[in-house]
């Protein structure tokens, strides 16, 4: 398969288009600008393609709400501060059971923070992406190739379960170039049968709504949604990991690559270390983590934050194993030697 050098942002946009996404609504913010820029060039050339640079992130997510509501595959992207602005619209999309893909190329925060890479939006993505009882499947790529593969997957999950799906990447993945192949991405976009798109009285009305003032109706609606979430947990949870390690190092996204280098250094010194990498953050791969840590003495979690995924790791392990943390903040990507030193420390301690 022919490979081309591409930035993660551009590869994500190209993958979306190839899978049949013709509608994009966004607002510029570093470090995700290449997605918006790529869409602005490519979509107007496609029959039926729609690109709108909205007046704000809030405008963009509500355009997605309208587009998905009319039954059409669509997406938006932003970076951390912009995702906060989209929170209201994401909650409405979840409340109306509408599929869409939202890409977050994370940067450091809080506030405007920095434009450099970060993983400090894990809590936001997996615990509180908007108000109300809701979850959104969250995929965590760690290479430019996965920016492609997971974009395709995100649309499939979104439409299969009628839910917004987030791709949680970061500035490093968005900005770096790697060889990438688009393989045989199928254009499998269809107009959703539940779209409110005008029908001239030929069928029953489709209604897009997230307001249920009758408690009985809302409760039923929320419960039905959580039944779908249970199916997502069963079918879509994904991780890759080494088996039988003494020291398990858990990390996702960019950090998992650095961790892999650090684990190789540790193994070269005779420490039986292994990597645990969630590919879905919600649902968090609890069973897979238990399997990966079956014979482990301790777990190290590494993130570009003060420690967020570490909570899910501790809960999945039911607080039975010592769990320590090594992270960098402010836009720093940890280097393998730093993490290797921490692995060595754990190796001596446990």
């Amino acid at each position: 398969m022919n490979k081309v050098l591409m930035k993660g942002n551009e590869a994500c946009a190209e993958a979306a288009i190839r899978s049949g996404c013709k509608s994009y609504f966004g607002y510029p913010i570093t470090p995700q600008n290449e997605i918006t820029a790529y869409m602005s060039k490519a979509l107007p050339k496609i029959d039926g393609g729609v690109f709108v640079q909205a007046e704000s992130e809030i405008g963009a997510i509500h355009m997605v709400y309208g587009c998905a509501g009319s039954g059409v595959r669509c997406m938006t992207s932003s970076s951390s501060p912009g995702i906060s602005l989209k929170a209201e619209g994401i909650s409405y999309l979840a409340g109306a059971d509408l599929p869409c893909v939202i890409v977050n190329i994370q940067r450091g925060g809080p506030g405007l923070g920095t434009i450099q890479p970060s993983q400090a939006d894990y809590f936001q993505a997996t615990k509180a992406i908007g108000h109300g009882d809701l979850k959104i499947p969250t995929l965590a790529p760690n290479s430019v190739q996965e920016m492609v593969d997971m974009t395709v997957k995100a649309f499939e999950i979104a439409e299969k379960y009628r839910t917004p799906v987030m791709i949680l990447a970061d500035g490093l993945l968005g900005q770096m170039m790697e060889p990438v192949s688009f393989g045989n991405i199928k254009n499998n976009a269809e107009v959703y049968p539940y779209g409110a798109n005008g029908h001239g009285g030929k069928r029953k009305k489709n209604i897009t709504n997230s307001l249920y003032l009758d408690a009985l109706v809302l409760e039923k609606c929320v419960n039905e949604r959580f039944e779908r979430y249970t199916k997502i947990v069963e079918a879509e949870t994904d991780a890759e990991f080494d088996k039988d390690a003494d020291i398990v190092v858990a990390a996702y996204g960019s950090t998992s690559r650095v961790v892999k280098s650090a684990v190789e250094m540790a193994r070269a010194e005779g420490i039986n270390a292994g990597v645990f990498r969630p590919k879905t953050l919600w649902p968090f791969p609890e069973k897979q983590l238990k399997e990966a840590t079956k014979n482990a003495k301790a777990v190290l979690v590494s993130e570009m934050s003060m420690g967020q995924m570490i909570d899910d790791v501790k809960m999945a392990l039911e607080f039975k194993l010592p769990v320590e943390f090594y992270g960098r903040q402010g836009g720093f990507v940890p280097n393998p030697v730093e993490i290797f030193k921490k692995i060595k420390e754990l190796g001596g301690k446990y």
Partner: protein, 181 residues
């Protein structure tokens, strides 16, 4: 190409630091290697100092951020000062001596680092190749490291100048000037 390269290119924004790095990454890709290219994408661009990490390896690449390069291209004084001390022993550094004075700098390479000074910016001016000092530097690097075959280099240049075919010959000339200096 047989060993793993961890390359850092650095200079002013506008000197083609990212483009030069992309050329090296394309060569790696054509040689069937694993490749990453990661730019400093901050306010460092456009007039400030700018740098780019390229890793080329036979095995999957962990961190794409190069902290201790085995090849450095320093296109100006501030880049030389900042990065020369980070080059790993056994590595090579290529310095644009028109804009960086390695003798006068307080920063020194560690033992075992080979430093090549060439006045790339001046050579570019003298040869009517303004803006191609970066490619002259590449020419020297490719020659001194046996980085890739002439055929692969030419193929990569075709790729990176796609859509701007008039630049192909000029870039090939710049590579030659660097290689022959």
């Amino acid at each position: 190409m047989s060993k793993a390269y961890e390359i850092l290119t650095a200079g002013f924004g506008g000197q083609g630091v990212l483009f030069g790095a992309k050329m090296l990454a394309e060569i790696g890709l054509l040689d069937g290697k694993e490749v990453t290219w990661f730019p400093a994408y901050g306010p460092a661009m456009r007039g400030g100092t700018c740098n780019c990490s390229v890793v080329i390896s036979d095995t999957p690449i962990g961190s794409p951020v190069v902290a201790s390069p085995n090849l450095l291209i320093a296109m100006n004084g501030p880049s030389y000062d900042k990065f020369i001390g980070t080059v790993a022993s056994g590595g090579k550094a290529f310095v644009d001596s028109t804009l960086a004075n390695s003798d006068a700098s307080a920063s020194k390479p560690v033992d075992g680092v080979e430093v090549f000074n060439l006045p790339a910016t001046q050579l570019a001016l003298d040869n009517n190749l303004v803006g191609m000092a970066n490619i002259i530097m590449l020419g020297k690097l490719i020659k001194e490291t046996g980085f890739a075959s002439a055929e692969t280099v030419e193929k990569a240049m075709k790729l990176v100048t796609e859509g701007k075919e008039h630049l192909f010959d000029l870039n090939m000339k710049a590579l030659k000037i660097g290689a022959e200096y």
